[in-house]
């Protein structure tokens, strides 16, 4: 994968992670499952990209983590949105909509 492509996807990945965590806390694998679910299988986030993203976002203060029990009784690290994370989700959603509208109209133009 070239570096440029990662950068392009990173913004999208952040948005998807924030969105996936909006309803409530999830552990890493849960996040990727939720993303797969809400994008109807369009995005399958590999652990190799997911975990760096989670940690980066945690360090940025958008996520916080705590240790809890998983559905099959294992200790797992759960991520949830912070206040800053919710604001970031709103901001990125707005951005995405604007970009999306612009791109769509650009593609429609003849």
């Amino acid at each position: 994968m070239s570096g440029k492509k990662i950068d392009l996807l990173q913004g999208t990945l952040h948005l998807l992670v924030l969105k996936a965590l909006a309803p409530g806390p999830l552990h890493g694998l849960g996040v990727s499952g939720r993303i797969e679910q809400i994008t109807k299988g369009a995005f399958q986030v590999k652990p190799g990209s997911l975990f760096p993203a989670l940690h980066r976002m945690e360090e940025a203060g958008w996520l916080e983590s705590s240790w809890g029990e998983s559905e099959n009784n294992r200790r797992a690290k759960y991520y949830s949105l912070t206040k800053a994370g919710r604001l970031q989700l709103d901001a990125e959603t707005e951005d995405w909509k604007r970009v999306s509208v612009a791109i769509t109209s650009a593609l429609k133009a003849t």
């Binding site: 552990h27 652990p47 975990f51 980066r56 945690e58 940025a60 099959n72 294992r74 797992a76």
Partner: protein, 887 residues
């Protein structure tokens, strides 16, 4: 991104590393566990489920590493990690580390030493207040081509009145008063007479009292002096009430009107005879009658924003105007404006830049050598690197780690290089001070430390980057498969070959440069100076006008002194002269030959000496024709002269010069100038420098043209001529105990001084070239030896297939020679274009001197043949059985 959480994370990542790591491991483990359970739930067996889960995860360590890479502070942590790893690695191979660090230390140290001198001479501001605006104004004579002539007070006053480019213009000249007061022995002081405005030009504010008033330039009001800070401290104990006191100089009272501060630096030797410790007014109001009396020099300060070109253009116009108004004195007389720095370093600059370039070459060779070592080691480290890559290290990460190691090497080398430089600077400084007297101390300032640091880092990157890129090539499978036998591959071999070629080429350029300089100095040594320097000691005297007012008394003193010194045991001959050859000084005169008509500016210029009868014998200057001066050539006898061979040829061609008459030209014809008869012809003497063409020399008897300032020339029978100096001093003291003796030097010293710049360049360039040769031969040896060790197997196969030992020898040496010859060819081409830059330092040898080029090429080839010999011998001793089993 918000700052606070990141700072918090940074602290946590750096300080609670273990906890962070533990949690990361646990998180990923948990994830893997869940994946496995999911796979089991899908119906896979436990083993298979785990395999599938690991594939989906992409490897536990890889995921962990990718998380670590995005963490805040990751960069610092890895740098620190690389640093520790690098130190450990370097300590594991002390031999390699020592060779590499020493090589770099030599390269960086030599560069720092030369840079210190370049910094002091060419980069650091001159030690004057606001020095960038200071320019010198010279009389330029279009008739003779002389561009740096003296000026008259009258012309300088006109320049000052007419030119708009300058804030201030002032004249100055030498003065050597005798001071017999204050603490200490009577002393001939280095001093300057300065025209009105001099202290404005130099922006000097007195520490005590004042500087000179304009009216103190009037004759009779000029017995005032300003003390330099050093003299005030040394002779007057820093007396704060000194201003207003009178001090006897040359036996006459002078009032001290001011003292300059310690940071007021005198103009240096070269512009003055010696840096001045004392100042007095020029005491010459500009007078029309004195326009042709050019015995002063001029310095000026440009107005802010005025360029040198503008000032030169304006002065050309001003000079033309004066030329038209005063054709008798100023025909063909222009003005040249030069920046002060140019005059101070003009002759040293090419040599310094040459050395700076040469030392840069040495550093490049050192880089190539260390790079080669690293390449060879990178071959051996392939497995290690491949494993790191397999464990998730990206290529950039590996390159960074390898670069950290080379930077460690180069910084260690740079640190050690500072020690080398401290020693080298000492050596260079001692010689440099003689070359550039105003240089002052070559100090290690922040700029030099910064230079060393930058050069070290640059070095580390230059020699480290290529091997690092080479070693980190992502052909992981290949390396792991080769199972450690890995050679560095064809690409690595080609690179090393290219580095050796570059090394050989660079050394060849240096060697050729050194060879040309050595040949030049040898040629110069072979030049017949026209006199014999060995066994001669010289010293200067100056008779104060108060005690010796008349020419008769001056001549009488020197005649009696010569007689007394001649009686000292061991003294063979004694003479006095007004000008000493190769000392740098000269007395240019205009003459007229009897019976010839001259237009303005057409009269011959000669280099003039007033000498006593003993002078020719004391200097061993050969008399070619006619007779020398005798004691009978007194002031009442017919006026006579001797001429040099060159002068005889230029003035009279094939005619016999003996009996011809000439006289010194007096533009004012104030008094009758006597015609002088040529009574003899003497050998040419190289006057100012040994590499100058023989000039037209003219000698007149000192008895007929007495002068207060003379140099005593004493030829001793044998041994060390300086040994007679105390006895000579005693004789001088016996005649007049108030006289100061100065510039005591043997002729050998004076000749050596005149060769100094070339000898200095030759020695340094020779040292650099030798260093380059050693480094290059080590480089060739290293590469060939490495090739042999890598190809042991192949050599074994060849021998098993029937190759003779001589074939193997040829194979190995052939590779070395191929590289050498390619390097020699490239070096010859480079040298041809580069040696042209050093033409000004050469003498009697062309910049593309074929014998030098051929000899150096042969020398390099021979040395590299020797360097190949040892590994080639080793190759022939390969036992095919062992080599094959070695597999």
């Amino acid at each position: 991104m918000p700052l606070m959480p990141r700072l918090y994370s940074l602290r946590r990542n750096l300080l609670q590393r273990e906890r962070v790591e533990r949690e990361l491991a646990e998180e990923i483990e948990a994830c893997l566990e869940m994946l496995v359970q999911a796979k089991v739930a899908e119906g896979l067996g436990p083993e298979e489920a785990r395999r599938a889960a690991l594939i989906e995860l992409g490897g536990v360590e890889q995921v962990k590493e990718s998380v670590r890479e995005v963490r805040v502070g990751h960069f610092f942590r890895t740098v620190w990690q690389d640093f520790r790893y690098g130190v450990r690695w370097l300590r594991r191979s002390p031999g390699f580390t020592a060779v590499a660090v020493l090589t770099i230390a030599l390269g960086v140290g030599a560069n720092t030493a030369i840079f210190s001198v370049v910094n002091a001479a060419l980069l650091r501001p001159l030690p004057y207040n606001d020095p960038s605006g200071l320019v010198l104004l010279w009389g330029a004579d279009r008739a003779t081509g002389a561009e740096r002539g003296q000026v008259s007070a009258t012309d300088a006053a006109d320049w000052r009145a007419q030119a708009r480019s300058f804030e201030a213009v002032a004249t100055y000249g030498d003065w050597r008063p005798l001071l017999a007061e204050g603490s200490g022995e009577p002393e001939r002081l280095p001093a300057a007479q300065v025209g009105d405005g001099y202290f404005d030009v130099m922006k000097g504010q007195p520490l005590l009292g004042r500087t000179f008033l304009p009216e103190e330039q009037d004759d009779g009001k000029d017995f005032v002096v300003v003390l330099g800070h050093g003299l005030w401290q040394r002779r007057f104990g820093g007396d704060p009430s000194i201003v207003g006191r009178a001090v006897r100089l040359n036996g006459r009272p002078h009032t001290i009107v001011g003292v300059m501060p310690p940071d007021f630096t005198s103009l240096p030797a070269g512009l003055l005879h010696e840096p001045a410790e004392l100042y007095r007014p020029v005491a010459e109001q500009p007078a029309e009658a004195e326009r042709g009396s050019r015995h002063l020099r001029a310095i000026a300060r440009l107005k802010p924003g005025v360029t040198l070109e503008h000032a030169q253009a304006e002065m050309t116009t001003v000079a033309r105007r004066i030329e038209e108004a005063h054709p008798a004195e100023n025909t063909n007389y222009g003005v040249r404006v030069t920046p002060l720095r140019e005059d101070l370093v003009g002759n040293v600059r090419p040599a310094l830049l040459l050395l700076f370039g040469a030392v840069g070459f040495v550093l490049l060779i050192a880089c190539a050598n260390v790079g080669n070592l690293l390449l060879a080691r990178a071959g051996a480290r392939r497995r290690e690197i491949a494993i790191r890559a397999a464990l998730g290290a990206g290529r950039g990460r590996i390159v960074r780690q390898l670069l950290t190691e080379s930077l460690l090497l180069s910084l260690a080398g740079g640190g050690l290089g500072l020690l080398v430089a401290a020693w080298g600077t000492g050596v260079v400084e001692r010689v440099g001070l003689q070359l550039v007297p105003w240089l002052g101390r070559v100090e290690t300032d922040a700029r030099i430390l910064a230079f060393t640091f930058v050069v070290s880092v640059f070095t580390g990157i230059v020699f480290g980057l290529v091997p690092a890129l080479q070693a980190s090539r992502p052909d992981l499978n290949e390396s792991l498969k080769e199972g450690g036998r890995a050679g560095a591959g064809a690409a690595g071999g080609r690179l090393r070959g290219a580095l050796v070629i570059a090394e050989v080429a660079l050394s060849l350029v240096l060697l050729v440069g050194a060879g040309l300089l050595i040949k030049s100095v040898a040629r110069l040594r072979g030049v017949d100076p026209g006199f014999t320097a060995g066994g001669v000691v010289t010293m200067s005297l100056w008779l104060p006008g108060v005690k010796y007012p008349k020419g008769d008394s001056q001549h009488d003193f020197y005649a009696r002194l010569a007689e007394r010194v001649g009686n000292i045991p061991g003294v063979e001959a004694v003479g006095v002269t007004s000008v000493l050859p190769v000392s740098g000084g000269f007395d240019g005169r205009t003459i007229e030959v009897e019976g010839r008509a001259y237009g303005a500016g057409e009269r011959p210029e000669v280099e003039n000496y007033y000498v006593s009868p003993g002078y020719l014998r004391a200097m061993s200057i050969r008399l070619m024709r006619g007779r020398a001066f005798t004691d009978a050539d007194t002031k009442d006898a017919p006026p006579v002269v001797l001429v040099s061979e060159t002068m005889a040829r230029r003035q009279w061609g094939d005619e016999d010069p003996l009996g011809k008459r000439l006289r010194y030209y007096d533009p004012y014809a104030n008094r009758e100038v006597p015609w002088r008869t040529v009574v003899g012809v003497v050998a040419d003497v190289k006057l100012t420098r040994l590499d100058r063409e023989g000039a037209q020399g003219l000698y007149a008897p000192e008895a007929q043209t007495p002068s207060p300032a003379m140099t005593l020339v004493v030829r001793t029978a044998a041994g060390e001529p300086a040994g007679v100096v105390p006895a000579v001093r005693r004789e001088i003291g016996a005649l007049d105990r108030d006289l100061a003796v100065f510039n005591v030097k043997t002729m050998d010293e004076l000749v050596a001084d005149s060769l100094l710049l070339r000898r200095f360049s030759m020695l340094l360039l020779g040292a650099f070239a030798a260093l380059a040769l050693i480094l290059a031969s080590v480089g060739i040896y290293g590469v060939i030896a490495y090739t042999v060790s890598q190809r042991t197997h192949e050599i074994g196969v060849r021998m098993a297939l029937g190759a003779r030992r001589s074939d193997i020898f040829r194979l190995v040496v052939g590779r070395g020679m191929l590289l050498t010859l390619a390097g020699v060819a490239a070096g010859l081409i480079a040298a041809l274009s580069l040696t042209r830059l050093m033409e000004s330092l050469l003498f009697g040898v062309s910049a593309s001197d074929p014998p030098t080029f051929v000899a150096i090429a042969l020398l390099l080839t021979a040395v590299s043949l020797a360097a190949c010999y040892v590994p080639a011998r080793r190759a022939t001793r390969v036992d095919p059985l062992i080599a094959l089993r070695h597999e």
